[in-house]
């Protein structure tokens, strides 16, 4: 376990040395503040459109950080020829994969804390109330979803040749799931065979990342808290998918030549 935490620590340090997070965070802050400065019929209490834009930017930024950070982990070790010395130490391949995953996941967690703190401050500036539990639910499920994305990207980094192709494929896959994942079953019902069966199979096979993504509407429009039972079930659902991708990554990495 210590080995896993050691690898994870290095990944976290790498994140705060790089400029990705700072650039995206400042961009989010600037866009939101510019949007907030727009005068809308002299009403200073309008906030929901700003919340909506801010949450969307947080999701996009976090996905960019998660995918780009994860996609370069293993290829960078290989290019810099540090992979062999790393594995020569008492560190198994499985521990390396789990360490990289944990590092990226925790780093994304830290990123989300900053983003959601800004979101909360922005919302409180006009709403004059602070639904902390709602924000916690949203941030927690967001983090769990990023776990699935990170595990998927880690698997991709072992399958695809270059980090760029892996990042692109992961972005397209995640964007497709977020946009139409929820409706694939409805589309399947209107299609003839064999398209229908193919769509059903895809629908049940993909991780439904759109569930926490669609939760933005509840936060934007001040809906009451979601039952904790459902939060727990969705967290388990995400963890299950992350585990599947991680196990697949370990299996691929075990057979892969590292030199």
């Amino acid at each position: 376990m210590n080995n896993i935490f050691a690898v994870a620590g290095i990944v976290i340090k790498e994140l705060y040395r790089r400029k990705d997070f700072y650039v995206l965070f400042i961009l989010t802050v600037v866009i939101c503040l510019v949007m907030a400065s727009v005068n809308i019929y002299n009403d200073n209490e309008i906030i929901r459109y700003i919340k909506s834009i801010c949450l969307l930017l947080i999701w996009v930024s976090s996905l960019v950080i998660a995918i780009t950070t994860t996609a370069r982990q293993i290829p960078a070790e290989r290019e810099q020829r540090t992979l062999l010395p790393l594995l020569a130490k008492p560190l198994s391949r499985t521990q390396l994969i789990f360490g990289k995953f944990l590092g990226c996941w925790l780093a994304c967690g830290l990123v989300l804390v900053c983003f959601y703190a800004f979101f909360g401050a922005l919302a409180a500036s006009r709403e004059h109330h602070w639904p902390l539990l709602n924000y916690f639910q949203a941030a927690f499920l967001h983090w769990m979803t990023l776990g699935v994305v990170i595990a998927l990207t880690l698997l991709g980094s072992l399958v695809f040749a270059a980090p760029s192709s892996n990042s692109t494929i992961c972005f397209v896959a995640v964007a497709a799931i977020l946009c139409v994942g929820r409706y694939l079953d409805a589309v399947a019902l209107t299609r003839p065979e064999p398209v229908r069966s193919i769509l059903w199979t895809i629908y049940y096979a993909i991780p439904h990342l759109e569930i926490p993504f669609d939760m933005r509407n509840l936060i934007v429009h001040d809906w009451p808290l979601i039952g904790w039972k459902f939060i727990g079930l969705d967290a388990l659902y995400s963890l299950a998918y992350a585990t599947v991708f991680l196990v697949a990554a370990c299996l691929v990495f075990r057979r892969k030549a590292v030199n």
Binding site: V38, I40, Y41, N42, D43, E45, I46, I47, R48, Y49, L141, R182, Y183, D185, A186, V187, L189, Y203, Y204, H208, E210, I211, P212, D214, M215, N217, L218, V220, H221, D222, W223, P224, I226, G227, F230, L233, D234
Partner: protein, 310 residues
């Protein structure tokens, strides 16, 4: 050659050249200035006619905000949302909505769908009637305004956006001056529009209590309504079909408001004439006829003229 004469001739030549250049450039600059004025709107400049599509999306987004996010997507049954509820609730447009607005999702298709519905807005609410938490005041309807403003900027020729914005500003947010500015902005882009003039008249009548100004504006609106379809007889325009609902509705509303104005001023003859006109476009002419009869009775009682004289 005398150097002074050469200098003089050069000056004359320069003057002629300058005059010719100015005469040649003036019309070009004028044309350029006009084209710049035409593309004042940055969205029009960037998007062209596509800005209307975005304007419509923005209007629909305002309606989605009015429902606190409980809104059908392109994959859902949209029969109950054909006409935006923010426009329908103003009472100024024809409703094409059918079916139950509370259950457009239908029963869950599978366990993933059933589970996912716990994470999205799943109850029909209106912002001015309590919103998502059933506790919000009617002023929460302000949240639709950014999208309406964007819609108006994207498509300044869409009259509906201005009337809907002005309605909510005036009735729920009590921002009468802002509502008037919105309508005047609409009139700047759509000069002499009957719908906008009608709404402006309502502001003067209901909020500013300026009956004289309201009457002038509504009469101008009626004239504009008549000019909208030159050559088409009024009886044809008031035929009861679904296509001309907006046309009939506007005519009826204008005549009704003018009739009320006349009644308030004590001009019963003029009021009865207006009610008679309103009856032509009303979906319930019997109710109006009853009111007309009452007025005639009142009029007869006051000056002894028999109802048959009308």
């Amino acid at each position: 050659m005398n150097p002074a004469r050469t200098l003089f001739l050069l000056l004359v030549a320069l003057l002629v050249f300058c005059f010719g250049l100015a005469a040649s450039l003036a019309p070009r600059f004028q044309a350029l200035e006009n084209s710049v004025h035409q593309s004042d709107n940055i969205f029009n400049l960037l998007l062209g006619d596509a800005s209307r599509i975005f304007a419509n999306s923005s209007f629909v987004e305002a309606d989605a905000y009015y429902h606190s996010g409980y809104y059908p997507t392109i994959f859902d049954n949209k029969a109950a949302f054909q006409t935006a509820h923010i426009a329908e609730d103003t009472g100024a447009v024809a409703s094409h909505n059918q079916g139950e607005e509370t259950s457009f999702m239908g029963p869950p298709r599978d366990w993933i769908d059933a589970f996912g519905r716990n994470f999205i807005p799943n109850r029909h609410t209106h912002l001015d009637e309590g919103g998502a938490d059933d506790l919000s005041g009617s002023k929460e309807v302000r949240e639709i305004l950014p999208w309406l403003k964007l819609s108006a900027e994207l498509d300044p020729e869409n009259v509906k956006t201005y009337t809907v914005t002005a309605f909510w500003l005036r009735t729920r947010l009590n921002q009468v001056a802002e509502a008037e500015l919105v309508l005047r902005e609409g009139l700047r882009h759509n000069p002499d529009n009957a719908q906008l003039l009608f709404e402006l008249g309502r502001i003067y009548f209901e909020n500013y209590h300026n009956s004289a100004r309201a009457r002038n504006i509504w009469e101008a609106a009626l004239r504009s309504w008549a000019r909208q379809a030159p050559g088409v007889p009024q009886s044809k325009r008031l035929e009861k079909t679904n296509e001309n609902f907006d046309d009939r509705f506007l005519f009826e509303q204008l005549q009704t408001y003018l009739a009320q104005l006349e009644e308030k001023a004590g001009n019963l003859d003029a009021a009865i004439a207006r009610w008679e006109q309103a009856k032509l476009a009303s979906p319930n002419p019997q109710d109006l006829q009853k009111h007309i009869d009452e007025l005639k009775q009142k009029h007869t009682g006051s000056d002894g003229v028999s109802p048959a004289s009308f």
